[in-house]
């Protein structure tokens, strides 16, 4: 018999808490370990969630971690830690602050949960995924960034707003970095198989693409104090569920490229097939010229940030 599944969520802000809560409500794992900076607050949240699981007649138990050793035997570790983006702050501003935090946790995961699949959601997403990969020294299929699922969900929502039908059936595709240079692909977007171009004109589609790019910033501006977390948390649990249930389904995620789409040693968002071992396959789609160009821009913007970290001698402690 297989043992019950275990997921560690690092960070107990809105994002991490919502991820843990969804997991407890879904019952896809038996144990959720929450790691926060303040043990009492973390324990309070864990108790609240465990009690909610009982109300939902689920078996999931949420516990607060006392230290990194409580991550042991996790199947999945989600890193949500990092400073949130506040109004006026670009994703890039977060770079150095969050890279240090992710580095610290990656080293701990390497030591205490060496067989886990790591999902990174800290921003700037693609660079943080790169940092986590370098410092866990895991194979690339076990370090993934959550990006495309969220961006595609946002695009699907904006399409639904225009159409007023098809909610939940819109398959939108967003590639590239999880930033201002993301690459929404309306040509690959369908509503229950019906191409979006049969339903909306090019002006409407252009508007949707623009709204998708600004999707995160729009919510940041409205909230005034922090960023979105419901859709991001749900998108993260889609990945967690796919790993725990070994679904072999395709989702767009940030992953280290290795001769994929013509790039290597850089993280960007591409469709991957997710199973128990993480991203078991990278799917190489045929892109049109314009898409190739946009993807190139997107990769370049991630590369710039990685280069900046190199300049700051961030990676100098790597063996």
């Amino acid at each position: 018999m297989a043992k019950g599944k275990k997921v560690t969520v690092i960070g107990t802000g809105n994002f991490g808490s919502t991820v843990a809560f969804i997991l407890a409500m879904n019952g896809t794992c038996h144990n959720v370990i929450l790691r926060g900076r303040n043990y009492d607050v973390t324990k309070g949240k864990a108790l609240d969630m465990s009690q909610a699981a009982n109300a939902a007649r689920q078996h999931t138990i949420v516990k607060a971690a006392k230290g990194p050793e409580d991550m042991a035997e996790s199947d999945v570790v989600v890193i949500t830690a990092g400073a949130p983006r506040t109004p006026g702050m670009s994703r890039d501003d977060l770079l150095t602050m969050n890279a240090g935090i992710v580095k610290m946790y990656a080293k701990e995961i390497k030591e205490y949960a060496p067989d886990s699949v790591v999902i990174v959601v800290s921003n700037p997403l693609d660079v943080m995924t790169y940092v986590a990969l370098k410092y866990t020294e895991f194979p690339r299929e076990r370090v993934l960034g959550m990006a495309g699922i969220l961006d595609a969900a946002r695009m699907a929502h904006f399409i639904y707003e225009k159409l007023e039908y098809g909610a939940g059936q819109i398959r939108a595709t967003v590639m590239g970095g999880h930033g201002d240079t993301m690459v929404p692909l309306p040509k690959f977007t369908t509503v229950a198989g019906v191409p979006i171009e049969d339903l909306l004109d090019s002006e409407e589609i252009g508007e949707i693409v623009q709204k998708t790019r600004n999707g995160g910033a729009e919510i940041v501006n409205l909230l005034g104090n922090g960023s979105a977390y419901y859709a991001p948390a749900k998108s993260t649990t889609v990945m967690v569920d796919a790993i725990l249930k070994d679904t072999n389904q395709i989702h767009s995620c940030a992953i280290m490229l290795k001769d994929d789409y013509g790039y290597s040693d850089i993280v960007s968002g591409v469709p991957v097939m997710i199973g128990a071992g993480g991203a078991e396959e990278v799917i190489n789609m045929t892109l049109k010229n314009l898409q190739v160009k946009k993807f190139k821009n997107s990769v370049a913007s991630v590369q710039e940030m990685v280069d900046k970290l190199h300049e700051l001698k961030f990676f100098d402690d790597l063996v």
Partner: protein, 314 residues
């Protein structure tokens, strides 16, 4: 639609599996089963009612002793008719089932005059047409199960070819629910990825062929039609209507100029909601697909012509 009351006429394997699926999903408040064979609806209603103990929501299951008990339903599912046997074509069923459908439809008009009818009996498109003519209701209230099932069969074939992507593959099939159906595997996606990046032309042809034979393949093994796929597909449609979810599902529907056709019932993508068919989705078809679709429409019109020849509508 506050009653969420669903009548199922014909408690054979398809009707009962639809009832079971609906009950396990907790979609409706009440399900009423009717069958011409004595005791069948009663026995199955009790069995399903007992299974609801472990469902997320309660559902009341009852058996109708006569068609008059299928009363004031929001949706009536018509599965009545004789099943297709191994060597029987869908056309063989035509006249036998048309007569059954006529009497059942007249009961629905009398006892559930405001219902939306989901038609499941074969040959599907012709029976859906017959129901439309008999009731003379607005076309949005007569919906034939076709693409929801054929699309699921197509998605299964795509999964079998790829070995991944189960449950996240598009289901677009148009045309008749028979040998001339038009599966469109090239149009759909697996997760985020267009199938055209995953499969070649030869593989698409194989998928189209196996989708068309999807029903017959099961008949070959079972000696009778499949019912898990149909039951789930019916539940999917009922859920979209009762929840007013505005889901896009391919269904057999009366065309009134859409796709260039009139006075025929055929499968196209529609938006399902509280009024039944809320909208017919108009896709651009390429020349090759248009030809296939025409062949499909022609085959349905042949079936309708057989009904007319036999004085069915007089």
């Amino acid at each position: 639609m506050t009653n969420r009351r669903v009548g199922i006429i014909g408690a054979g394997a398809v009707g009962a599996t639809a009832a079971y699926t609906l009950a396990m999903k907790g979609i409706c408040k009440e399900i009423i089963l009717f069958d011409i064979a004595e005791g069948v609806a009663q026995g199955k209603a009790i069995d399903i009612a007992q299974a609801t103990q472990y469902a997320p929501q309660p559902t009341i299951l009852t058996a109708a002793n006569s068609p008059a008990d299928i009363k004031d339903c929001d949706i009536v599912i018509i599965t009545a008719g004789v099943p297709r046997k191994g060597d029987m074509t869908r056309e063989d069923l035509l006249m036998i089932n048309a007569k059954i459908i006529k009497s059942v439809t007249q009961d629905v008009m009398k006892y559930s005059p405001n219902a939306i009818i989901v038609s499941v009996s074969n040959p599907l498109d012709v029976m859906t047409y017959a129901i439309q003519k008999i009731t003379a209701w607005e076309r949005n209230r007569i919906i034939g199960l076709a693409g929801a099932l054929d699309g699921a069969r197509m998605a299964y074939q795509i999964y079998k070819k790829l070995g991944y992507g189960a449950g996240q593959t598009g289901t677009l099939v148009i045309g008749d629910h028979g040998q001339n159906m038009v599966p469109l595997p090239q149009k759909v996606q697996v997760g985020d990825v267009p199938t055209t990046d995953l499969l070649d032309d030869e593989e698409f042809e194989g998928i189209i062929e196996r989708t068309r034979n999807g029903g017959a393949e099961i008949v070959k093994y079972l000696g009778t039609s499949g019912y898990y796929g149909p039951g789930s597909a019916i539940a999917h449609m009922v859920e979209a209507i009762l929840n007013d979810s505005k889901a896009v599902v391919s269904c057999s529907v009366g065309l009134n100029g859409e796709y260039g056709y009139q006075d025929v019932t055929v499968g196209v993508p529609v938006v399902l909601g509280k009024n039944g068919i809320e909208e017919i989705v108009q896709m651009t078809l390429n020349t090759k697909t248009k030809e296939k679709f025409k062949k499909s429409v022609d085959s349905i019109q042949e079936g309708i012509a057989i009904l007319e020849k036999n004085g069915f509508f007089e």
